[in-house]
Symmetry: C2
Subunit: 112 residues, 2 copies
């Protein structure tokens, strides 16, 4: 896949994919004969998962940690990164539930 196709498939712009590669969040894929990026299915799968982590609020720093651990075969480290993120998500959920309550209360108070 070329970068534009990956961009369409994953919802991350080509600019942003290159930016992630520059930041070390993603590895540079193989290049074709004319020097253009050529992404394998495995590459695309990883980028898709990166998109998911990004959308769920994981910082690029943490995503980079996860990706690097994955690539280097440090599965336990990759798992730890995911578990930490899961905890953060659950914390976020608790907070949001709280803020929903508080906001509803405020709305009710103002409605009367």
């Amino acid at each position: 896949m070329k970068i534009k196709e990956v961009s369409e498939f994953t919802g991350i712009s080509a600019h942003t994919i290159r930016y992630y590669e520059k930041q070390g969040v993603l590895e540079l894929p193989k290049k074709d004969s004319s020097g253009h990026r050529n992404y394998s299915d495995t590459d695309v799968e990883l980028i898709n998962w990166v998109a998911c982590m990004k959308n769920s609020g994981m910082s690029l720093r943490d995503i980079k940690g996860y990706v690097t651990a994955s690539i280097e075969g440090r599965n336990e480290d990759a798992l730890v990164a995911l578990r930490i993120h899961l905890e953060k998500l659950e914390e976020q959920k608790k907070n949001i539930d709280h803020y929903i309550d508080v906001t509803e209360e405020k709305i009710n108070r103002l409605s009367n």
Copy 2:
């Protein structure tokens, strides 16, 4: 209350409170004889609610919209801002639930 007390009470730094005032998110409070900010109980209550909205992910732009409507007595507009925010919170909650599922799945797949 002086700015430092407000800062301690609301958890927003004095720097940030001044920044909010500069940005028009908050109104400048009355100043005492030596030109120092002097916050009334009503001011502090509002700043506390701003802190709550900020922590729940509302943008400064939207908080400003809410605060301005409140101050100008446009109660219906203030309510609309809160209702929109509530919808966003509920959307966020849905997303987070989804990402919790996906992340748990990924963890389980990697654990085997």
